[in-house]
């Protein structure tokens, strides 16, 4: 019991009633644990136990008979424990004791007599009487603080789990979690890793005046270049003010700037003073980027071009693209760890359970989905707690709709590259996941395979408490370390394979290493093009996007690594290239498809184990891919229609899919189950 809820406890009274020393401990504050262990060792040294609890008459009568009939050869202090276990018909104890059949028949008649008299089965009788005994002890030994009044947890719950406020509060908290991790802290940290550690390099502590000189140089160069291009275009030097175009490095926005002849003269002077373009390595303490460092090392030992390409454009670009999200992931892992430790996660289950039940899903289905936010594999395994086979199968099929931690880099990549890092993208990804579960729940419940009422759901809400700093940090680190390990193993191998397949191909009948502009001739491009047409109605029928989605099946983070190789090897950064390859509509369609389609191979393996049936496994994967395809199709076609990119055939198919869903959701009647699952 919690010390906070107790005003008066009497350890002496406890000790007397239980026959052992009582030690107060706090698992949270880690106090009293050593004392409790010492007391346990001391008690174990004693050897003899005195029974403190007496069961009701019929039970004690049966126990006495059992001891006398079959256990009198055992040491005195063990007889009672074995007798109770025999009374409970414990399989292991009965097989260990190997009691002769005639004695067992005699014992059985005693147990049955007690069961008849107390109108319950022997195991329940023991459990029930023990609970009554515990309640009696507690009643006499402690008094509840503010008995009958609401505790702080109850008061918070009145608001947080409120029928009307519960869901908006949940949405707000989720938005805050993603705003903090994706925008407030995550983006600057991820930008630093992506732009500095894996791209340009950075100055330690201060830049030694580099920024000022570089800005002066860039400004002066732009004016001089503008002057030169004016002459190139007009065939004569400007006599007064002249205009030139400037491209923003980050946004690629092109704007017109005007300058005067005086500006040009000053710019020329500045360039003469500075000399060559300033090298950041000449100022302050310069830390080169990992690719620059690796390239320098590989050049120094004259490594072959193909190997250099594999390391720089394959491993460093691919693994770097995944590791670039590490700071964001760490912040993102920290938030759920905090919510879990303070007790709010259980409230989310409670709040959403009420919603889920209305849509025909079992309340118990929510626990696997909650676990699935971390990883789909334990999420799918957690479906074992659902007794009803139909509910369990449906939960297995829908659990991976909720984005797992491996899908977060995909969300972060699309959000950052196409939506300027908007926190709404990540928040909406979770709501798309939840909506998919609800829609699937309603539709599937109306089919013969899944008809029937969901199983009831009972859960205990823990009291709110402040989490300990070390526990939250440990939880964050464990998940973060798994992320790093995965980048160093499965993602590393995949990026090497993807690089090799995308950089080797047949040119004029010869199989060789391709030049950077020949990627279209690679083996992977051939494979991608063979399947890309499937995704064309979704708005991203390119071989790169098709291959990215396929490599995501190995591990979802792979998609980011693959995109890093395809889009990050040219002059533009991966994000810039992505923002050109995708529109917001096609980008969101790509994101939603990859969030909802079949999970990674590890999760598919878990589905196979839990379904214990190949047909059901294929049905689950087929349903997930089909559902993801239809939703992405609708996003692209309806989005395209609104943004002026109308495709009549695609729109007809999208409307047909929408009509089918509306019919299944609102008009098709529920079919009652004809037999129990």
């Amino acid at each position: 019991m919690s010390v906070k809820t107790v005003t008066k406890s009497t350890p002496h009274s406890f000790q007397k009633k239980l026959g052992c020393k009582i030690v107060e401990i706090s698992a949270l504050k880690e106090t009293g644990i050593a004392e409790a262990a010492e007391a346990a060792i001391e008690a174990a040294k004693n050897g003899k136990t005195v029974p403190q609890h007496t069961f009701s008459g019929p039970v004690e009568h049966a126990i006495a008979h059992i001891e006398e009939a079959a256990l009198h050869n055992l040491p005195d202090e063990q007889q009672r424990w074995y007798a109770i276990k025999v009374f409970e018909r414990d399989d292991k104890v009965l097989s260990q004791l190997n009691i002769p059949a005639d004695k067992l028949t005699h014992i059985e008649s005693d147990i049955k007599a007690a069961e008849t008299e107390l109108d319950d089965d022997s195991e329940s009788i023991i459990t029930n009487e023990r609970y009554i005994y515990i309640a009696e002890i507690l009643k006499s030994c402690y008094k509840k603080k503010n008995a009958g009044a609401l505790s702080s947890s109850d008061k918070i719950d009145k608001v947080v789990t409120n029928r009307w406020l519960g869901l908006p509060i949940f949405a707000l908290i989720m938005f805050l979690v993603y705003w903090i991790s994706m925008v407030a802290i995550g983006t600057p940290a991820t930008d630093f890793v992506n732009d500095k550690v894996f791209d340009e390099g950075f100055h330690l502590f201060n830049d030694g005046g580099y920024t000022e000189i570089a800005e002066n140089y860039a400004g002066a160069s732009a004016v001089v270049d503008g002057y030169d291009s004016y002459i190139e275009e007009n065939g004569t030097a400007p006599t007064g003010d002249f205009t030139y175009t400037v491209e923003d490095d980050e946004t690629l926005e092109v704007s017109e700037v005007s300058a005067s002849i005086t500006d040009y003269e000053n710019a020329k002077k500045t360039l003469e003073e500075i000399g060559d373009e300033p090298d950041p390595a000449d100022y302050g303490i310069w830390i080169p980027s990992i690719p620059a460092l690796a390239e320098k090392g590989l050049d120094a030992i004259h490594t072959a071009d193909w190997l250099k390409g594999m390391i720089l454009n394959g491993i460093v670009a691919g693994v770097g693209a995944v590791l670039g999200f590490l700071p964001q992931m760490l912040v993102l892992f920290l938030m759920p760890a905090f919510l879990e430790a303070c007790g709010y996660m259980a409230r989310i289950a409670f709040v959403l359970d009420r919603v889920f039940r209305k849509f025909g899903l079992s309340g118990k289905s929510f626990i696997p989905m909650l676990i699935g936010t971390g990883c789909g594999v334990p999420g799918i395994m957690a479906s074992r707690t659902i007794e009803n086979e139909r509910d369990r199968r449906m939960t297995i099929m829908t659990t991976t709709f909720i984005p797992c931690s491996a899908k977060l880099p995909i969300i972060a990549m699309i959000s950052g590259a196409i939506f300027h890092g908007s926190a709404w993208v990540a928040t909406s990804a979770y709501f798309v996941g939840m909506a998919s579960i609800i829609i699937s729940g309603i539709i599937l419940k109306k089919t013969k395979m899944f008809a029937g009422d969901p199983a009831p759901f009972v859960m205990e809400l823990p009291a709110y408490r402040w989490p300990t700093f070390s526990n939250v940090l440990r939880s964050m680190w464990e998940r973060g370390w798994s992320f790093i390990k995965k980048a160093g193993t499965i993602v590393l191998l995949s990026t090497m394979v993807v690089w090799a397949l995308s950089n080797f191909g047949f040119v004029d009948g010869n199989f060789r290493l391709l030049e950077s502009e020949e990627l279209e001739l690679s083996l992977l491009a051939y494979f991608g093009r063979a399947i890309a047409w499937i995704f064309a109605p979704l708005g991203w029928g390119t071989w790169q996007a098709a291959v990215g989605s396929i490599t995501g099946l190995i591990a979802k983070e792979n998609l980011v690594g693959t995109m890093g190789i395809f889009y990050g090897s040219g002059e533009l950064t991966a994000w810039e290239a992505l923002s050109q390859a995708f529109t917001p509509v096609t980008g969101y369609s790509f994101l939603v498809f990859n969030l909802l389609c079949a999970p990674c191979f590890a999760a598919i393996g878990a589905i196979r184990r839990e379904m214990n049936n190949a047909k059901w496994t294929w049905f689950a994967i087929g349903y997930q891919c089909g559902f993801a395809y239809l939703i992405a199709l609708m996003i692209n076609q309806f989005g395209g229609a609104f943004t002026g990119n109308l495709n009549v055939v695609g729109l007809i198919f999208a409307l047909a899919a929408l009509c089918f869903m509306i019919y299944m959701l609102f008009f098709k009647k529920y079919k009652e189950a004809t037999k129990l699952a």
Partner: protein
């Protein structure tokens, strides 16, 4: 032969390191699979039911 080795020494060295790293990764992944360790990002180690999912 010596000239070829001298010219390609860097490539051979880096290839050898890469093969060693890949071999270690594959061995580690196979070992983890045999020990029932999950390849996923989630950590089941603190789950009370871990033993029932991941056989030791």
């Amino acid at each position: 032969m010596f000239a070829w080795l001298a010219a390609n020494g860097g490539t051979i060295l880096v290839s050898a390191i890469l093969i060693a790293v890949v071999s270690l990764v594959v061995i580690k992944m196979r070992k983890d699979k045999k020990q029932g360790k999950s390849t996923c990002g989630g950590n089941c180690a603190h789950c009370a039911m871990c033993g029932s999912c991941h056989s030791k």
